[in-house]
C-alpha cells in the first residue's frame, strides 16, 4: 500500500474533505467547463447542425423533408393562381365528359385559419334528405379518373 493511499484513508475516516485536482472542479457555467476547442466556431456549427438537423434524421425524417420544408410543403394542397385556370379547365372537362354533371362554379378556397387550399366545385343536386351521399359518389368517380386532382376538390351543392 502506498503512502498516499494511507493518508487518503485516514482523512476519509476523519470525515475531512479531500482536495481534488483543479481539473475536477465543476464550474456552474457549462461554457467554462467545456474545453476551449468546444467554444470554437466549428463546434458551434456542429452543435447547430446536431440540434436542428441531425435530430430530424434520428426521427426518421429524410433530408428531403428538412430542406424542402417550404410553405409549399406545409400545406396539403397549394394551387398557384396561374395554374388554377388549367386546373379549372381540366375539372370542367372531367365533370362534363366523364361524370356527366355540369359544374355551376369552380372556385379556389383558402382556409382563413390554416391557409390550406381547396377547390370548391358546386353542382346541382337532386333534393334528397342526405345530399352528401350523392356528393361522395361523384367524388369517388373523380378519384378513379384523377386521384391527385380529386384530393384538392370539395363538392358542394349549387342552390
Amino acid at each position: 500500500m502506498s503512502k498516499d493511499r494511507v493518508i487518503h484513508d485516514i482523512l476519509a475516516d476523519q470525515d475531512i474533505e479531500i482536495a481534488k485536482p483543479r481539473s475536477q472542479f465543476q464550474s456552474p457555467s457549462r461554457l467554462a467547463r467545456s474545453p476551449v476547442v468546444e467554444r470554437s466556431y466549428p463546434y458551434i456549427l456542429f452543435n447547430f447542425l446536431k440540434n436542428d438537423f441531425v435530430f430530424s434524421f434520428n426521427r426518421n425524417i429524410g433530408i428531403k423533408d428538412i430542406f424542402l420544408s417550404t410553405r409549399k410543403e406545409l400545406t396539403r394542397a397549394e394551387i398557384k393562381l396561374q395554374d388554377f385556370n388549367k386546373v379549372k379547365q381540366k375539372l370542367q372537362e372531367v365533370f362534363e365528359k366523364e361524370l356527366n354533371v355540369k359544374p355551376e362554379s369552380i372556385e379556389p378556397h383558402t382556409s382563413p385559419e390554416d391557409g390550406e387550399q381547396e377547390i370548391i366545385v358546386t353542382i346541382k343536386i337532386e333534393a334528397t334528405e342526405d345530399p352528401f351521399r350523392e356528393i361522395l359518389k361523384l367524388h369517388k368517380k373523380l378519384r378513379e379518373i384523377d386521384w391527385e386532382l380529386a384530393k384538392k376538390v370539395v363538392i358542394l351543392p349549387a342552390e
Binding site: 396539403r76 382563413p112 385559419e113 342526405d130 384530393k151 358542394l156 351543392p157 342552390e159
Partner: protein, 208 residues
C-alpha cells in the same frame, strides 16, 4: 368535450331556428352560423375520438408510437392534422399496396371532414355575407329555404349518418390494415405522424 355534446348543441340550435317565436327574440343568423360550427365540431371530435381509440387499442401501433415518443393527443388537436393523416394514409395505401378500397376509406373520411370544415368556415368567417354576389357556394343564413340542399347536409340526421360512417370506416380501415402483409402498418402510421409532427413544429416556429 364529448362529441355528443356538440351534437346536442347543434340539435338545440336547429330546433331554435325552427321555432319562429323564439327566433324572433334571438338573432337567427348567429344561431344558424353557430349550428354549422357545432355540426363540424361534432364530426371533428367524433373522428378524433374514433381514431385515437382505434390507435391506442392496437398494441403494435401503441408500442411503435411510444418508441418514437409521439404524443397523439397533441398532434390531433389541430384540425388540418386529422385531415392530413387520412389523406397521407390514403396516398400511401394507394401507392404502396395498390389497395384502392382501403385508400378510398381513408379518403372518404378526409373528404367528409373537408366538406364540413369548409361549410364551417363559410359560417364562422362570414365569407359570403360581405360579398354574396361573388361567392356562388354561399349558405343563406337568413333564409334557409333559399339554400335547402346545403341545409340538408347540415340536418341532424345527415350529421349522425356522417358520424356513423366515419366511425365504421375508421374501424374497418385499421382492421384491414393489420391484415395487409405488403406493408408494416405501425411503421407507416409512425412515419405519417412523424412527418405531421415535424410540419406542426415548423408551422409553430414560423408563426411564433
Amino acid at each position: 368535450m364529448h362529441p355528443q355534446e356538440f351534437l346536442n348543441m347543434a340539435t338545440y340550435l336547429d330546433s331554435l331556428t325552427k321555432n319562429p317565436n323564439q327566433t324572433k327574440l334571438l338573432n337567427p343568423e348567429i344561431i344558424r352560423r353557430t349550428h354549422v360550427n357545432r355540426s363540424y365540431y361534432f364530426l371533428y371530435h367524433t373522428t378524433r375520438k374514433a381514431l385515437l381509440e382505434v390507435m391506442t387499442k392496437d398494441n403494435q401501433i401503441e408500442s411503435e408510437l411510444t418508441t418514437a415518443r409521439i404524443k397523439l393527443h397533441e398532434i390531433f388537436q389541430h384540425h388540418w392534422t386529422l385531415i392530413k393523416f387520412y389523406e397521407d394514409l390514403a396516398e400511401i395505401l394507394k401507392q404502396e399496396t395498390q389497395n384502392t378500397e382501403l385508400a378510398d376509406l381513408a379518403e372518404d373520411v378526409s373528404f367528409a371532414l373537408k366538406t364540413y370544415k369548409i361549410l364551417r368556415e363559410l359560417a364562422d368567417y362570414h365569407i359570403d355575407i360581405h360579398n354574396p354576389k361573388k361567392v356562388k357556394h354561399k349558405i343563406d343564413f337568413l333564409d334557409p329555404t333559399k339554400t335547402p340542399t346545403t341545409w340538408n347536409l347540415l340536418s341532424i340526421n345527415s350529421l349522425q349518418n356522417r358520424a356513423n360512417e366515419i366511425i365504421t370506416k375508421t374501424n374497418k380501415l385499421f382492421k384491414d390494415l393489420s391484415e395487409i402483409t405488403l406493408i408494416w402498418y405501425p411503421q407507416i402510421i409512425r412515419d405519417i405522424l412523424e412527418k405531421i409532427e415535424f410540419q406542426l413544429n415548423t408551422k409553430r416556429k414560423r408563426t411564433s
